[in-house]
């Protein structure tokens, strides 16, 4: 059969597609992201209104992990609440322990000895390393670069081993007590930390080489999710997210606590406030944390690691409890009634890996707080989401969420 040729007219394609576009305009699609979604890093839910690929409106829904930590705190003694602080920002439990202990000690007007302060600084900075390693790892994963996550998680595993040697637990450390620590450093532990840092430094450089100058990563993050300094301050952002917007605000420098003024370190700042700056700030903070830990280990003083004179706040050494009547009674009173904290109210903020973790404690005397409010950095950082996500592309949502590095455990409390 001979081929037959037939002419087909398809008309003006361009004008037809324009007309088709016109038809679609104004149609908004509602998309539900989460609460169980890989890019939400926990149980964050976003109600997204899409116009094509452009995000028109976002409403974050939180509270899926609400456990009522503040209510629980009002019903137990100050020391009994320490394990609950592990579960706020569960990526960096040691830093939460320290912040909480410092808040209660500030209320009691108690100063802990230099050795205790130095150990707490080491704990805080190792916790920051742990948190930022996860933060940059999953951030890379959110932008499609899986390799970095493998590197950082290997390092975190080693950190967990160090935490286990120090506290007996890998995850829920509960290391601090009001007025001191649960125990002194184990023998040889500081050497292990130094060894860990020595091999961590080249890994950080490798992560830097893998991603920071990577063209794809660069294109996906530069100019995306820009937060101006005014917006950042207005929404109460804190931590690396605030500093990436160019606001010089690091409580370790500005209102030093636990002896941070003794150490030399730089506060990295961003200038554009976009996703790429938030990455750069976290990468540099990793290096600065290593610097602080090294100095703290070099200068670590000898001496007691708990406030010896605080007889109504810190329990006496175990050996004395078993041999001396007075210490036995003291320990009994501490366990049953809790550390005796004078009446008053205090608000203490600590620079945690995720931002400013604040404890507002109202005491009416005795061993139980009357009101304990936790100012969670992730809660404040997430409140800017409707503003930042508005107008971005749908594919930018995971990137922006990843760049925020939040934890719902402390957001929902």
């Amino acid at each position: 059969m001979a081929n037959q040729e037939k002419e087909v007219s398809i008309g003006d394609v361009a004008s037809r597609s324009v007309a088709f576009e016109e038809d679609l305009k104004g149609e908004v699609m509602n998309i539900n992201v989460g609460p169980s979604h890989p890019s939400t890093h926990g149980v964050l839910r976003l109600k997204v209104k899409l116009d094509g690929e452009v995000v028109r409106e976002v409403e974050p829904v939180i509270g899926y992990l609400h456990r009522g930590d503040e209510k629980i705190a009002e019903n137990m003694t100050y020391n009994q609440f320490v394990p609950y602080t592990d579960r706020l920002d569960y990526i960096a439990p040691l830093a939460n322990n320290v912040a909480y202990a410092l808040a209660v000690e500030k209320l009691a007007g108690l100063e802990v000895p230099p050795r205790c302060q130095a150990i707490r600084v080491i704990c805080c900075e190792l916790a920051r390393l742990s948190s930022h390693l996860l933060g940059v790892g999953v951030y890379g994963m959110d932008t499609g670069a899986l390799t970095v996550f493998m590197y950082t998680f290997t390092e975190r595993e080693k950190l967990y081993t160090l935490f286990e040697q120090l506290t007996g637990a890998r995850f829920t450390t509960s290391y601090t007590r009001i007025g001191g620590l649960a125990r002194d450093l184990p023998e040889g532990w500081l050497g292990n930390v130094i060894n860990f840092l020595n091999q961590l430094e080249p890994v950080i450089e490798e992560i830097d080489k893998l991603l920071t100058r990577n063209r794809i990563f660069y294109d996906r993050t530069v100019g995306v999710g820009v937060i101006t300094p005014e917006e950042a301050i207005g929404y109460g952002l804190s931590g690396p997210n605030l500093r990436a917007s160019g606001v010089a605000c690091d409580l370790r420098k500005t209102i030093p606590y636990s002896g941070y003024e003794k150490y030399e370190f730089d506060v990295p700042m961003g200038s554009a406030g976009d996703c790429f700056d938030r990455w750069l700030v976290r990468m540099e903070e990793l290096r600065q944390s290593i610097r602080i830990v090294r100095q703290a280990i070099d200068q670590i003083p000898d001496g007691p690691w708990y406030a010896e004179e605080a007889r109504k706040i810190y329990a006496p050494p175990k050996g004395k409890i078993l041999t001396s009547m007075e210490e036995l009674i003291q320990n009994f009173m501490l366990v049953t009634e809790g550390p005796q904290i004078p009446p008053g109210e205090v608000y203490f903020e600590a620079e945690n890996p995720k931002g400013v973790l604040g404890f507002y404690i109202v005491s009416k005397g005795g061993g139980v707080p009357y009101r304990l409010k936790i100012r969670a950095p992730s809660f404040c950082n997430l409140s800017i989401l409707p503003q930042v996500l508005k107008g971005c592309m749908v594919a930018d949502i995971p990137v922006i969420l990843g760049s925020f590095d939040f934890v719902l455990g402390e957001c929902d409390r």
Binding site: I62, G63, H66, G68, E70, K71, I72, E74, N75, M76, T77, Q80, K106, L107, G109, E231, I233, G234, Y235, G236, V247, C249, T254, I255, T336, E337, G338, Q340, G344, E345, V346, Y347, F348, E349, V356, G358, Y360, V362, G365, G366, G367, V368, Y370, R371, K373, R375, F379, C380, L382, S383, I384, Q387, D412, R413
Partner: protein, 204 residues
Amino acid sequence: MQDEFLNGLVESYDYLEKRSSVDWPAVNCPPDRLLEFLKMLRDVRGFDMLSDLTAIDNMDELPRFTVVYHLYDTQKHTLIRVASNCPEGEPPTMPTATGLWAGADWHEREAFDMFGIVFSGHPKLTRILMWDGYPHHPLRKDFPLAGKEVDLPAADVALATKEKVRPAPMAGGPFHSTPGGHMSESEPRGNDESWSEKKEKPSG
């Protein structure tokens, strides 16, 4: 220096009262002058960031609810605490600070959720941690630690399963004793024994 600042503040604004504090300068401000005072702190005194907003339930004292603001100065790096008592009556009310700080939005929603404080003028005062339609305000002092029995948020699930949200079995709760009084009476017990193995579970 902090005392000087606080004295100057109380002298300049006669409606303020000093509030006892162990750390930062703290003032009590009447609710009808609150917004004007907060705006002044933000624009004139440089407290440009709302660090925290929360409430206290004073229970037996009057007025019952106090809203507490913590403002941070990002230049001079200092904090101030401003407290304001809600006027008597149910629900307790307070003017909204969302016009001054965008970040006040979520904080006020949380205070509403947990304490039932209505922030008048708030653009969308809905629950944030508990689910929509939850009938109680859990951080009030008269709300038991064990919780209260309420309906499930999803009506269809409730109908199919005949389940309810039940109070958590506290079995006495976290134990501690109250200081003072006779030794024999200070046996460690939970603050909230509204539902233990020995007591019936509270209804409604």
